[in-house]
Symmetry: C2
Subunit: 329 residues, 2 copies
Protein backbone atom coordinates (compact mmCIF):
# COMPACT_ATOMS: atom_id res chain seq x y z
CA UNK A 1 0.00 0.00 0.00
CA UNK A 2 2.85 2.33 0.85
CA UNK A 3 4.22 1.79 -2.64
CA UNK A 4 0.92 2.78 -4.24
CA UNK A 5 0.78 5.97 -2.21
CA UNK A 6 4.32 6.78 -3.30
CA UNK A 7 3.38 6.25 -6.93
CA UNK A 8 1.21 9.36 -6.72
CA UNK A 9 4.09 11.51 -5.58
CA UNK A 10 6.51 13.27 -7.85
CA UNK A 11 9.89 11.48 -7.71
CA UNK A 12 11.87 13.17 -4.95
CA UNK A 13 15.42 14.41 -5.23
CA UNK A 14 17.19 12.20 -2.73
CA UNK A 15 20.85 12.97 -2.14
CA UNK A 16 23.12 10.73 -0.07
CA UNK A 17 26.37 11.94 1.50
CA UNK A 18 28.91 9.32 2.52
CA UNK A 19 30.94 10.20 5.61
CA UNK A 20 33.54 8.38 7.74
CA UNK A 21 35.70 9.04 10.82
CA UNK A 22 37.95 12.12 10.56
CA UNK A 23 36.03 13.59 7.60
CA UNK A 24 36.37 17.31 6.81
CA UNK A 25 33.27 18.95 8.32
CA UNK A 26 33.18 21.81 5.82
CA UNK A 27 33.07 19.32 2.92
CA UNK A 28 29.72 18.16 4.30
CA UNK A 29 28.22 21.31 5.86
CA UNK A 30 28.85 23.54 2.81
CA UNK A 31 26.97 21.46 0.20
CA UNK A 32 24.28 20.50 2.77
CA UNK A 33 23.55 24.17 3.40
CA UNK A 34 23.36 24.82 -0.36
CA UNK A 35 20.72 22.12 -0.83
CA UNK A 36 18.84 23.17 2.33
CA UNK A 37 18.67 26.81 1.19
CA UNK A 38 17.47 25.71 -2.25
CA UNK A 39 14.67 23.82 -0.50
CA UNK A 40 13.35 27.13 0.80
CA UNK A 41 12.96 28.42 -2.77
CA UNK A 42 11.43 25.51 -4.70
CA UNK A 43 7.99 23.82 -4.67
CA UNK A 44 7.44 21.62 -1.60
CA UNK A 45 7.08 18.41 -3.65
CA UNK A 46 10.32 19.06 -5.51
CA UNK A 47 12.62 19.53 -2.53
CA UNK A 48 15.86 17.71 -1.87
CA UNK A 49 15.83 14.99 0.75
CA UNK A 50 19.29 14.59 2.19
CA UNK A 51 20.62 11.57 4.02
CA UNK A 52 24.02 11.39 5.70
CA UNK A 53 25.32 7.82 5.56
CA UNK A 54 28.06 6.57 7.89
CA UNK A 55 29.93 3.24 7.91
CA UNK A 56 28.12 2.39 11.19
CA UNK A 57 25.40 4.18 13.18
CA UNK A 58 28.04 5.45 15.63
CA UNK A 59 28.95 9.07 16.27
CA UNK A 60 31.72 10.24 13.92
CA UNK A 61 34.32 12.81 14.85
CA UNK A 62 35.27 15.24 12.08
CA UNK A 63 38.88 16.34 11.59
CA UNK A 64 38.00 19.63 13.32
CA UNK A 65 36.61 17.77 16.36
CA UNK A 66 32.91 18.26 15.53
CA UNK A 67 30.82 15.25 16.51
CA UNK A 68 28.25 14.08 13.96
CA UNK A 69 25.51 11.46 14.12
CA UNK A 70 24.95 9.84 10.70
CA UNK A 71 21.28 9.58 9.69
CA UNK A 72 21.71 5.92 8.79
CA UNK A 73 24.46 3.33 8.47
CA UNK A 74 25.54 2.11 5.06
CA UNK A 75 24.17 -1.40 5.59
CA UNK A 76 20.66 0.00 5.98
CA UNK A 77 20.89 2.84 3.47
CA UNK A 78 19.11 1.12 0.56
CA UNK A 79 19.19 2.26 -3.04
CA UNK A 80 16.69 5.07 -3.26
CA UNK A 81 19.07 7.93 -4.11
CA UNK A 82 19.30 10.15 -7.13
CA UNK A 83 22.73 11.58 -6.30
CA UNK A 84 25.57 10.18 -4.15
CA UNK A 85 28.44 12.35 -2.95
CA UNK A 86 31.51 11.37 -0.90
CA UNK A 87 33.21 13.94 1.30
CA UNK A 88 36.95 14.22 1.92
CA UNK A 89 39.19 14.12 4.94
CA UNK A 90 42.85 14.88 5.69
CA UNK A 91 43.98 11.24 5.93
CA UNK A 92 41.92 9.87 3.03
CA UNK A 93 44.72 10.05 0.40
CA UNK A 94 47.16 8.00 2.46
CA UNK A 95 44.90 5.54 4.27
CA UNK A 96 42.73 2.57 3.33
CA UNK A 97 39.20 3.68 2.41
CA UNK A 98 36.34 2.11 4.38
CA UNK A 99 35.47 -1.06 2.44
CA UNK A 100 31.74 -0.88 3.26
CA UNK A 101 31.48 2.58 1.74
CA UNK A 102 33.52 1.58 -1.33
CA UNK A 103 31.34 -1.42 -2.12
CA UNK A 104 28.20 0.65 -1.55
CA UNK A 105 29.53 3.20 -4.07
CA UNK A 106 30.25 0.39 -6.58
CA UNK A 107 26.69 -0.95 -6.33
CA UNK A 108 24.89 2.41 -6.27
CA UNK A 109 26.78 3.92 -9.21
CA UNK A 110 24.69 1.62 -11.41
CA UNK A 111 21.38 3.08 -10.15
CA UNK A 112 21.97 6.76 -9.49
CA UNK A 113 21.63 9.70 -11.85
CA UNK A 114 24.94 11.23 -10.81
CA UNK A 115 27.71 10.64 -8.29
CA UNK A 116 30.69 12.59 -7.17
CA UNK A 117 33.13 13.73 -4.54
CA UNK A 118 34.21 16.77 -2.61
CA UNK A 119 37.92 17.38 -2.02
CA UNK A 120 39.81 14.14 -1.24
CA UNK A 121 36.56 12.16 -1.46
CA UNK A 122 37.83 11.48 -5.01
CA UNK A 123 40.05 8.71 -3.56
CA UNK A 124 36.87 6.83 -2.57
CA UNK A 125 35.53 7.12 -6.11
CA UNK A 126 38.90 5.93 -7.41
CA UNK A 127 38.85 2.90 -5.11
CA UNK A 128 35.36 2.07 -6.40
CA UNK A 129 36.61 2.25 -10.01
CA UNK A 130 34.35 5.21 -10.75
CA UNK A 131 37.10 7.52 -12.03
CA UNK A 132 38.39 5.17 -14.74
CA UNK A 133 38.63 6.92 -18.09
CA UNK A 134 37.01 10.07 -16.69
CA UNK A 135 38.11 13.64 -16.06
CA UNK A 136 38.35 14.55 -12.39
CA UNK A 137 39.79 16.97 -9.85
CA UNK A 138 40.59 16.96 -6.11
CA UNK A 139 42.36 19.12 -3.49
CA UNK A 140 45.52 20.63 -5.02
CA UNK A 141 47.62 19.01 -2.32
CA UNK A 142 46.31 15.53 -3.14
CA UNK A 143 46.21 15.79 -6.94
CA UNK A 144 49.69 14.26 -7.61
CA UNK A 145 48.90 11.27 -5.38
CA UNK A 146 45.47 10.74 -6.98
CA UNK A 147 47.13 10.72 -10.40
CA UNK A 148 49.68 8.19 -9.19
CA UNK A 149 47.14 5.86 -7.54
CA UNK A 150 44.67 5.94 -10.44
CA UNK A 151 46.68 6.38 -13.64
CA UNK A 152 43.71 5.87 -15.99
CA UNK A 153 42.06 9.05 -14.70
CA UNK A 154 42.65 12.38 -16.42
CA UNK A 155 43.27 14.74 -13.51
CA UNK A 156 43.17 18.51 -13.83
CA UNK A 157 44.15 20.18 -10.54
CA UNK A 158 42.89 23.63 -11.59
CA UNK A 159 39.06 23.73 -11.96
CA UNK A 160 36.91 24.23 -8.86
CA UNK A 161 34.82 21.31 -10.09
CA UNK A 162 34.64 19.07 -13.14
CA UNK A 163 31.32 17.67 -14.38
CA UNK A 164 32.09 14.69 -16.60
CA UNK A 165 28.56 13.31 -16.35
CA UNK A 166 27.46 11.35 -14.43
CA UNK A 167 30.64 12.05 -12.41
CA UNK A 168 31.17 15.37 -10.65
CA UNK A 169 34.32 16.01 -8.62
CA UNK A 170 35.36 19.15 -6.80
CA UNK A 171 38.61 20.78 -5.75
CA UNK A 172 39.51 21.29 -2.08
CA UNK A 173 37.10 21.89 0.80
CA UNK A 174 34.96 24.99 0.05
CA UNK A 175 34.89 24.09 -3.67
CA UNK A 176 32.19 21.64 -2.52
CA UNK A 177 29.93 24.70 -2.26
CA UNK A 178 30.67 25.54 -5.90
CA UNK A 179 29.90 21.92 -6.85
CA UNK A 180 26.56 21.95 -4.98
CA UNK A 181 25.59 25.27 -6.58
CA UNK A 182 26.26 23.71 -10.00
CA UNK A 183 23.92 20.80 -9.17
CA UNK A 184 21.21 23.22 -7.96
CA UNK A 185 21.66 25.16 -11.19
CA UNK A 186 21.29 21.94 -13.20
CA UNK A 187 18.12 21.02 -11.27
CA UNK A 188 16.40 24.39 -10.88
CA UNK A 189 18.20 26.93 -13.10
CA UNK A 190 20.57 29.77 -12.41
CA UNK A 191 17.98 32.00 -10.71
CA UNK A 192 17.64 29.61 -7.77
CA UNK A 193 21.36 28.85 -7.53
CA UNK A 194 22.12 32.59 -7.57
CA UNK A 195 19.59 33.20 -4.76
CA UNK A 196 21.18 30.41 -2.70
CA UNK A 197 24.65 31.87 -3.27
CA UNK A 198 23.45 35.27 -2.11
CA UNK A 199 21.87 33.78 1.00
CA UNK A 200 25.09 32.00 1.98
CA UNK A 201 27.26 35.01 1.01
CA UNK A 202 29.22 33.19 -1.66
CA UNK A 203 29.65 34.22 -5.28
CA UNK A 204 27.97 32.14 -7.96
CA UNK A 205 31.12 31.94 -10.08
CA UNK A 206 34.55 32.39 -8.59
CA UNK A 207 37.37 34.16 -10.33
CA UNK A 208 40.15 31.79 -11.36
CA UNK A 209 40.61 28.14 -10.48
CA UNK A 210 42.14 26.19 -7.64
CA UNK A 211 45.76 26.69 -8.75
CA UNK A 212 45.81 30.24 -7.36
CA UNK A 213 45.57 28.66 -3.89
CA UNK A 214 48.39 26.16 -4.30
CA UNK A 215 52.16 26.52 -4.44
CA UNK A 216 53.34 26.11 -8.03
CA UNK A 217 56.42 24.06 -7.36
CA UNK A 218 56.61 20.32 -7.63
CA UNK A 219 58.68 18.20 -5.29
CA UNK A 220 61.38 15.97 -6.65
CA UNK A 221 61.11 12.23 -6.09
CA UNK A 222 64.54 11.71 -4.58
CA UNK A 223 66.97 14.05 -2.90
CA UNK A 224 69.27 13.96 -5.97
CA UNK A 225 72.22 16.24 -5.26
CA UNK A 226 72.31 17.81 -8.76
CA UNK A 227 68.57 18.55 -8.62
CA UNK A 228 68.96 20.16 -5.21
CA UNK A 229 71.76 22.35 -6.57
CA UNK A 230 69.60 23.29 -9.57
CA UNK A 231 66.70 24.29 -7.29
CA UNK A 232 68.95 26.31 -4.97
CA UNK A 233 70.58 28.03 -7.94
CA UNK A 234 67.17 29.00 -9.40
CA UNK A 235 66.00 30.27 -6.02
CA UNK A 236 69.08 32.42 -5.45
CA UNK A 237 69.17 33.86 -8.96
CA UNK A 238 65.46 34.24 -9.63
CA UNK A 239 65.89 37.92 -10.72
CA UNK A 240 68.36 36.94 -13.47
CA UNK A 241 67.81 35.63 -16.97
CA UNK A 242 68.79 32.00 -16.21
CA UNK A 243 69.57 30.96 -19.79
CA UNK A 244 70.27 27.32 -20.64
CA UNK A 245 73.97 28.09 -21.14
CA UNK A 246 74.29 30.04 -17.90
CA UNK A 247 72.55 27.26 -15.96
CA UNK A 248 74.83 24.59 -17.42
CA UNK A 249 77.88 26.67 -16.62
CA UNK A 250 76.81 27.42 -13.05
CA UNK A 251 75.98 23.78 -12.29
CA UNK A 252 78.89 22.30 -14.17
CA UNK A 253 76.80 19.85 -16.26
CA UNK A 254 75.48 19.96 -19.81
CA UNK A 255 71.99 21.44 -20.24
CA UNK A 256 70.90 18.23 -21.94
CA UNK A 257 71.91 16.21 -18.88
CA UNK A 258 70.21 18.68 -16.52
CA UNK A 259 67.07 18.62 -18.63
CA UNK A 260 66.80 14.82 -18.52
CA UNK A 261 67.43 14.79 -14.77
CA UNK A 262 64.77 17.43 -14.01
CA UNK A 263 62.21 15.72 -16.22
CA UNK A 264 62.84 12.33 -14.62
CA UNK A 265 62.72 13.66 -11.07
CA UNK A 266 60.00 16.27 -11.34
CA UNK A 267 58.02 15.52 -14.48
CA UNK A 268 58.51 19.00 -15.93
CA UNK A 269 61.21 20.78 -18.00
CA UNK A 270 63.80 23.06 -16.34
CA UNK A 271 62.20 26.01 -18.14
CA UNK A 272 58.77 25.15 -16.70
CA UNK A 273 60.35 24.75 -13.26
CA UNK A 274 61.92 28.21 -13.52
CA UNK A 275 58.61 29.71 -14.71
CA UNK A 276 56.80 28.27 -11.68
CA UNK A 277 59.53 29.46 -9.30
CA UNK A 278 59.15 32.95 -10.80
CA UNK A 279 55.36 32.77 -10.39
CA UNK A 280 55.69 31.74 -6.73
CA UNK A 281 58.13 34.58 -6.12
CA UNK A 282 55.74 37.02 -7.81
CA UNK A 283 52.86 35.77 -5.64
CA UNK A 284 54.86 36.18 -2.45
CA UNK A 285 55.84 39.74 -3.37
CA UNK A 286 52.27 40.58 -4.43
CA UNK A 287 50.75 39.21 -1.20
CA UNK A 288 53.28 40.65 1.22
CA UNK A 289 54.18 44.05 -0.21
CA UNK A 290 52.56 46.99 -1.95
CA UNK A 291 55.41 47.27 -4.47
CA UNK A 292 54.36 48.35 -7.98
CA UNK A 293 53.93 45.67 -10.65
CA UNK A 294 57.08 46.84 -12.42
CA UNK A 295 59.13 45.99 -9.32
CA UNK A 296 57.28 42.69 -8.86
CA UNK A 297 58.15 41.77 -12.46
CA UNK A 298 61.80 42.59 -11.80
CA UNK A 299 61.99 40.80 -8.42
CA UNK A 300 60.55 37.62 -9.91
CA UNK A 301 62.72 37.71 -13.02
CA UNK A 302 59.89 38.16 -15.53
CA UNK A 303 61.51 41.44 -16.51
CA UNK A 304 58.44 43.20 -17.86
CA UNK A 305 54.94 43.69 -16.44
CA UNK A 306 53.55 42.31 -19.68
CA UNK A 307 55.45 39.00 -19.37
CA UNK A 308 54.55 38.70 -15.69
CA UNK A 309 50.86 39.37 -16.37
CA UNK A 310 50.64 36.94 -19.27
CA UNK A 311 52.29 34.07 -17.34
CA UNK A 312 50.21 34.85 -14.25
CA UNK A 313 46.86 34.92 -16.05
CA UNK A 314 47.68 31.75 -17.99
CA UNK A 315 48.47 29.75 -14.88
CA UNK A 316 46.09 31.15 -12.27
CA UNK A 317 43.18 32.55 -14.28
CA UNK A 318 43.46 35.92 -12.53
CA UNK A 319 45.66 38.99 -13.05
CA UNK A 320 48.43 39.96 -10.58
CA UNK A 321 46.25 42.84 -9.36
CA UNK A 322 43.24 40.57 -8.78
CA UNK A 323 45.52 38.15 -6.95
CA UNK A 324 46.84 40.90 -4.70
CA UNK A 325 43.34 42.07 -3.78
CA UNK A 326 42.38 38.49 -2.81
CA UNK A 327 45.51 37.44 -0.95
CA UNK A 328 47.40 40.61 -0.06
CA UNK A 329 47.36 41.83 3.51
Amino acid sequence: MAVETHAWRKPVRRIAFLVFPNFQALDLAGPLDVFAEANGLVPADDRYEIVVIGPTPDILQASNGMQLVPDICVGAAGDQYETILVVGGPDVPTSQPDKRLVSYLCEQALHVRRYGSICTGAFYLGAAGLLNGKKATTHWQAAPLLAKKFPSVSIDPDPLFIYDEPLITSAGVTAGIDLALALVQQDFGSGISLAVARKLIVVAHRLGGQLQYSPSLVVSKSGNEKIERFKTHVERNIRDELSNAALARALGISFRHLSRLVQDEMGITPIEYIRRARLDTAREVLANTKLPLKVVAHESGFGTVEKLSRAFKTRFGVTPIQYRSSFGS
Copy 2:
Protein backbone atom coordinates in the same frame (compact mmCIF):
# COMPACT_ATOMS: atom_id res chain seq x y z
CA MET B 1 47.44 18.77 41.83
CA ALA B 2 45.83 19.11 38.44
CA VAL B 3 45.97 22.86 38.85
CA GLU B 4 49.68 22.81 39.59
CA THR B 5 50.38 20.68 36.52
CA HIS B 6 48.39 23.14 34.43
CA ALA B 7 50.41 26.02 35.82
CA TRP B 8 53.45 24.67 33.96
CA ARG B 9 51.68 24.75 30.64
CA LYS B 10 51.53 27.73 28.36
CA PRO B 11 48.01 29.23 28.53
CA VAL B 12 46.03 27.52 25.78
CA ARG B 13 43.82 29.21 23.24
CA ARG B 14 40.44 27.84 24.21
CA ILE B 15 37.56 28.79 21.94
CA ALA B 16 33.93 28.03 22.79
CA PHE B 17 31.18 27.89 20.17
CA LEU B 18 27.59 28.22 21.38
CA VAL B 19 25.05 26.22 19.37
CA PHE B 20 21.30 25.51 19.71
CA PRO B 21 18.58 23.58 17.85
CA ASN B 22 18.16 24.57 14.17
CA PHE B 23 21.56 26.33 14.00
CA GLN B 24 23.18 26.94 10.58
CA ALA B 25 25.76 24.16 10.19
CA LEU B 26 28.06 26.17 7.93
CA ASP B 27 28.28 28.93 10.60
CA LEU B 28 29.95 26.35 12.83
CA ALA B 29 31.84 24.09 10.41
CA GLY B 30 33.51 26.96 8.51
CA PRO B 31 35.23 28.66 11.47
CA LEU B 32 35.95 25.28 13.13
CA ASP B 33 37.83 24.16 10.03
CA VAL B 34 39.80 27.43 9.98
CA PHE B 35 41.00 26.93 13.57
CA ALA B 36 41.66 23.21 13.00
CA GLU B 37 43.81 23.91 9.91
CA ALA B 38 45.73 26.60 11.81
CA ASN B 39 46.47 23.96 14.47
CA GLY B 40 48.40 22.00 11.84
CA LEU B 41 50.72 24.97 11.28
CA VAL B 42 51.52 26.27 14.76
CA PRO B 43 53.59 24.92 17.70
CA ALA B 44 51.84 22.08 19.53
CA ASP B 45 51.64 23.97 22.82
CA ASP B 46 50.02 26.99 21.16
CA ARG B 47 47.15 25.22 19.42
CA TYR B 48 43.49 26.12 19.67
CA GLU B 49 41.30 23.92 21.81
CA ILE B 50 37.73 24.11 20.59
CA VAL B 51 34.63 23.22 22.55
CA VAL B 52 31.12 23.15 21.11
CA ILE B 53 28.63 24.07 23.84
CA GLY B 54 24.92 23.20 23.55
CA PRO B 55 22.01 24.19 25.80
CA THR B 56 21.77 20.53 26.91
CA PRO B 57 23.89 17.45 26.16
CA ASP B 58 21.28 16.26 23.63
CA ILE B 59 21.82 15.82 19.92
CA LEU B 60 21.04 19.05 18.01
CA GLN B 61 19.63 19.12 14.50
CA ALA B 62 21.04 21.86 12.26
CA SER B 63 18.77 23.75 9.85
CA ASN B 64 20.15 21.59 7.02
CA GLY B 65 19.25 18.38 8.90
CA MET B 66 22.78 17.53 10.07
CA GLN B 67 22.84 15.96 13.53
CA LEU B 68 25.46 17.28 15.94
CA VAL B 69 26.51 16.15 19.40
CA PRO B 70 27.68 19.12 21.53
CA ASP B 71 30.94 18.50 23.39
CA ILE B 72 29.42 19.76 26.63
CA CYS B 73 26.22 21.38 27.89
CA VAL B 74 26.23 25.00 28.96
CA GLY B 75 25.64 24.18 32.64
CA ALA B 76 28.92 22.25 32.76
CA ALA B 77 30.97 24.43 30.41
CA GLY B 78 32.87 26.42 33.04
CA ASP B 79 34.76 29.65 32.42
CA GLN B 80 38.06 28.60 30.92
CA TYR B 81 37.68 30.17 27.46
CA GLU B 82 39.67 32.85 25.74
CA THR B 83 37.16 33.43 22.95
CA ILE B 84 33.39 32.79 22.79
CA LEU B 85 31.49 32.77 19.49
CA VAL B 86 27.76 32.27 18.89
CA VAL B 87 26.56 30.82 15.60
CA GLY B 88 23.39 31.82 13.73
CA GLY B 89 20.29 30.04 12.55
CA PRO B 90 17.35 30.86 10.28
CA ASP B 91 14.82 31.37 13.08
CA VAL B 92 17.09 33.22 15.51
CA PRO B 93 15.97 36.76 14.53
CA THR B 94 12.28 36.05 15.14
CA SER B 95 12.35 33.64 18.07
CA GLN B 96 13.25 33.79 21.75
CA PRO B 97 16.93 33.03 22.29
CA ASP B 98 17.78 30.17 24.63
CA LYS B 99 17.96 31.78 28.11
CA ARG B 100 20.70 29.46 29.37
CA LEU B 101 23.00 30.49 26.52
CA VAL B 102 22.19 34.19 26.96
CA SER B 103 23.01 34.19 30.67
CA TYR B 104 26.19 32.20 30.01
CA LEU B 105 27.22 34.87 27.48
CA CYS B 106 26.48 37.62 30.02
CA GLU B 107 28.69 36.00 32.65
CA GLN B 108 31.52 34.96 30.34
CA ALA B 109 31.85 38.30 28.58
CA LEU B 110 33.48 39.57 31.79
CA HIS B 111 36.24 36.93 31.65
CA VAL B 112 37.05 36.34 28.00
CA ARG B 113 39.54 38.11 25.77
CA ARG B 114 37.08 38.47 22.89
CA TYR B 115 33.55 37.40 22.01
CA GLY B 116 31.51 37.52 18.87
CA SER B 117 28.93 36.08 16.53
CA ILE B 118 28.55 34.60 13.10
CA CYS B 119 25.56 35.57 10.96
CA THR B 120 22.34 35.89 13.02
CA GLY B 121 24.22 34.84 16.18
CA ALA B 122 24.36 38.65 16.70
CA PHE B 123 20.82 38.46 18.13
CA TYR B 124 22.18 36.36 21.01
CA LEU B 125 24.84 38.97 21.73
CA GLY B 126 22.15 41.66 21.59
CA ALA B 127 19.98 39.76 24.05
CA ALA B 128 22.98 39.50 26.39
CA GLY B 129 23.52 43.28 26.17
CA LEU B 130 26.89 42.80 24.49
CA LEU B 131 26.17 44.96 21.45
CA ASN B 132 25.24 48.12 23.38
CA GLY B 133 27.16 51.14 22.10
CA LYS B 134 29.23 48.95 19.74
CA LYS B 135 29.58 48.62 15.98
CA ALA B 136 28.27 45.33 14.62
CA THR B 137 27.09 43.47 11.52
CA THR B 138 24.91 40.42 10.75
CA HIS B 139 23.32 38.65 7.76
CA TRP B 140 22.00 41.27 5.28
CA GLN B 141 18.52 39.83 5.56
CA ALA B 142 18.46 40.24 9.35
CA ALA B 143 20.21 43.63 9.61
CA PRO B 144 17.02 45.81 9.67
CA LEU B 145 15.48 43.66 12.42
CA LEU B 146 18.69 43.69 14.49
CA ALA B 147 18.74 47.51 14.26
CA LYS B 148 15.11 47.65 15.37
CA LYS B 149 15.51 45.25 18.29
CA PHE B 150 18.74 46.80 19.59
CA PRO B 151 18.61 50.52 18.75
CA SER B 152 21.76 51.42 20.73
CA VAL B 153 23.90 49.35 18.36
CA SER B 154 25.53 50.93 15.32
CA ILE B 155 24.82 48.41 12.57
CA ASP B 156 26.63 48.38 9.24
CA PRO B 157 25.21 45.71 6.93
CA ASP B 158 28.11 45.88 4.44
CA PRO B 159 31.39 44.60 5.97
CA LEU B 160 32.07 40.86 6.02
CA PHE B 161 33.03 41.29 9.66
CA ILE B 162 33.50 44.14 12.13
CA TYR B 163 36.09 43.94 14.91
CA ASP B 164 35.13 46.49 17.55
CA GLU B 165 37.29 44.87 20.23
CA PRO B 166 36.56 42.81 22.21
CA LEU B 167 33.46 42.27 20.04
CA ILE B 168 33.72 40.66 16.60
CA THR B 169 30.60 40.12 14.48
CA SER B 170 30.34 38.68 10.99
CA ALA B 171 27.97 39.00 8.07
CA GLY B 172 25.94 36.03 6.78
CA VAL B 173 26.97 32.37 6.87
CA THR B 174 30.32 31.92 5.03
CA ALA B 175 31.51 35.33 6.34
CA GLY B 176 32.20 33.33 9.51
CA ILE B 177 35.20 31.91 7.65
CA ASP B 178 36.46 35.47 7.02
CA LEU B 179 35.95 36.25 10.73
CA ALA B 180 37.88 33.15 11.83
CA LEU B 181 40.74 33.96 9.42
CA ALA B 182 40.93 37.45 10.98
CA LEU B 183 41.26 35.91 14.46
CA VAL B 184 43.98 33.51 13.23
CA GLN B 185 45.76 36.50 11.69
CA GLN B 186 45.53 38.36 15.00
CA ASP B 187 46.89 35.35 16.90
CA PHE B 188 49.56 34.05 14.50
CA GLY B 189 50.08 36.63 11.75
CA SER B 190 49.07 36.82 8.11
CA GLY B 191 51.41 34.02 6.95
CA ILE B 192 49.49 31.39 8.91
CA SER B 193 46.05 32.79 8.03
CA LEU B 194 47.02 32.89 4.35
CA ALA B 195 48.18 29.25 4.49
CA VAL B 196 44.87 28.25 6.11
CA ALA B 197 42.90 30.12 3.44
CA ARG B 198 44.84 28.32 0.71
CA LYS B 199 44.21 24.95 2.32
CA LEU B 200 40.45 25.55 2.51
CA ILE B 201 40.37 27.14 -0.99
CA VAL B 202 39.10 30.50 0.18
CA VAL B 203 40.68 33.87 -0.50
CA ALA B 204 42.27 35.72 2.41
CA HIS B 205 40.50 38.99 1.56
CA ARG B 206 37.30 39.05 -0.43
CA LEU B 207 36.48 41.69 -2.98
CA GLY B 208 33.64 43.98 -1.85
CA GLY B 209 31.37 43.63 1.17
CA GLN B 210 28.16 41.82 1.95
CA LEU B 211 25.88 44.32 0.15
CA GLN B 212 26.78 42.85 -3.23
CA TYR B 213 24.88 39.71 -2.16
CA SER B 214 21.70 41.44 -0.97
CA PRO B 215 18.86 43.12 -2.84
CA SER B 216 19.22 46.90 -2.49
CA LEU B 217 15.59 47.72 -1.98
CA VAL B 218 13.95 48.28 1.37
CA VAL B 219 10.42 47.16 2.13
CA SER B 220 7.84 49.70 3.22
CA LYS B 221 6.29 49.30 6.66
CA SER B 222 2.65 49.43 5.56
CA GLY B 223 0.98 48.81 2.23
CA ASN B 224 0.31 52.56 1.78
CA GLU B 225 -1.34 53.04 -1.59
CA LYS B 226 0.67 56.12 -2.60
CA ILE B 227 3.94 54.34 -1.76
CA GLU B 228 2.89 51.35 -3.81
CA ARG B 229 2.11 53.64 -6.79
CA PHE B 230 5.50 55.34 -6.35
CA LYS B 231 7.32 51.99 -6.36
CA THR B 232 5.40 50.73 -9.39
CA HIS B 233 6.04 53.99 -11.24
CA VAL B 234 9.79 53.79 -10.54
CA GLU B 235 9.89 50.16 -11.64
CA ARG B 236 8.05 50.84 -14.92
CA ASN B 237 10.04 53.95 -15.80
CA ILE B 238 13.49 52.95 -14.56
CA ARG B 239 15.12 53.87 -17.91
CA ASP B 240 13.85 57.49 -17.69
CA GLU B 241 15.19 60.49 -15.84
CA LEU B 242 12.54 60.45 -13.04
CA SER B 243 12.98 64.08 -11.96
CA ASN B 244 11.23 65.35 -8.84
CA ALA B 245 8.76 67.36 -10.95
CA ALA B 246 8.00 64.43 -13.29
CA LEU B 247 7.42 62.12 -10.33
CA ALA B 248 5.06 64.58 -8.62
CA ARG B 249 3.14 65.04 -11.87
CA ALA B 250 2.85 61.31 -12.55
CA LEU B 251 1.69 60.49 -9.02
CA GLY B 252 -0.53 63.54 -8.61
CA ILE B 253 1.00 64.68 -5.29
CA SER B 254 3.59 67.30 -4.39
CA PHE B 255 7.20 66.11 -4.26
CA ARG B 256 7.42 67.38 -0.69
CA HIS B 257 4.50 65.19 0.32
CA LEU B 258 5.93 62.19 -1.52
CA SER B 259 9.32 62.76 0.07
CA ARG B 260 7.88 62.77 3.60
CA LEU B 261 5.82 59.67 2.91
CA VAL B 262 8.76 57.67 1.48
CA GLN B 263 11.02 58.69 4.37
CA ASP B 264 8.42 57.72 6.97
CA GLU B 265 7.61 54.41 5.35
CA MET B 266 11.03 53.33 4.11
CA GLY B 267 13.58 55.39 6.01
CA ILE B 268 15.28 56.67 2.84
CA THR B 269 14.69 59.55 0.41
CA PRO B 270 12.87 59.01 -2.92
CA ILE B 271 16.15 59.77 -4.72
CA GLU B 272 17.96 57.06 -2.73
CA TYR B 273 15.10 54.66 -3.43
CA ILE B 274 15.40 55.34 -7.17
CA ARG B 275 19.20 54.91 -7.04
CA ARG B 276 18.82 51.51 -5.39
CA ALA B 277 16.14 50.44 -7.86
CA ARG B 278 18.53 51.39 -10.69
CA LEU B 279 21.35 49.43 -9.04
CA ASP B 280 19.13 46.35 -8.70
CA THR B 281 18.11 46.63 -12.35
CA ALA B 282 21.76 47.00 -13.37
CA ARG B 283 22.69 43.89 -11.34
CA GLU B 284 19.93 41.83 -12.92
CA VAL B 285 21.02 42.86 -16.42
CA LEU B 286 24.69 42.24 -15.59
CA ALA B 287 24.02 38.78 -14.14
CA ASN B 288 21.58 37.56 -16.78
CA THR B 289 22.87 39.00 -20.05
CA LYS B 290 26.13 39.70 -21.81
CA LEU B 291 24.98 43.17 -22.92
CA PRO B 292 27.72 45.83 -23.04
CA LEU B 293 28.03 48.23 -20.09
CA LYS B 294 26.70 51.09 -22.21
CA VAL B 295 23.43 49.21 -22.67
CA VAL B 296 23.34 48.21 -18.97
CA ALA B 297 23.73 51.91 -18.05
CA HIS B 298 20.86 52.80 -20.37
CA GLU B 299 18.56 49.97 -19.25
CA SER B 300 19.00 50.89 -15.58
CA GLY B 301 18.55 54.62 -16.15
CA PHE B 302 22.05 55.65 -15.11
CA GLY B 303 22.54 57.01 -18.61
CA THR B 304 26.32 56.81 -18.79
CA VAL B 305 28.77 54.02 -18.00
CA GLU B 306 30.64 56.43 -15.76
CA LYS B 307 27.60 57.18 -13.59
CA LEU B 308 26.69 53.49 -13.41
CA SER B 309 30.23 52.50 -12.44
CA ARG B 310 30.57 55.18 -9.78
CA ALA B 311 27.24 54.34 -8.10
CA PHE B 312 27.99 50.61 -8.34
CA LYS B 313 31.47 50.82 -6.83
CA THR B 314 30.27 53.12 -4.04
CA ARG B 315 27.50 50.79 -2.95
CA PHE B 316 28.95 47.33 -3.59
CA GLY B 317 32.72 47.82 -3.42
CA VAL B 318 33.20 46.13 -6.80
CA THR B 319 32.92 47.33 -10.41
CA PRO B 320 30.06 46.22 -12.72
CA ILE B 321 32.54 43.99 -14.58
CA GLN B 322 33.79 42.34 -11.37
CA TYR B 323 30.16 41.81 -10.34
CA ARG B 324 29.34 40.16 -13.65
CA SER B 325 32.28 37.78 -13.39
CA SER B 326 31.16 36.73 -9.89
CA PHE B 327 27.42 36.44 -10.43
CA GLY B 328 26.85 36.20 -14.19
CA SER B 329 25.93 32.86 -15.72
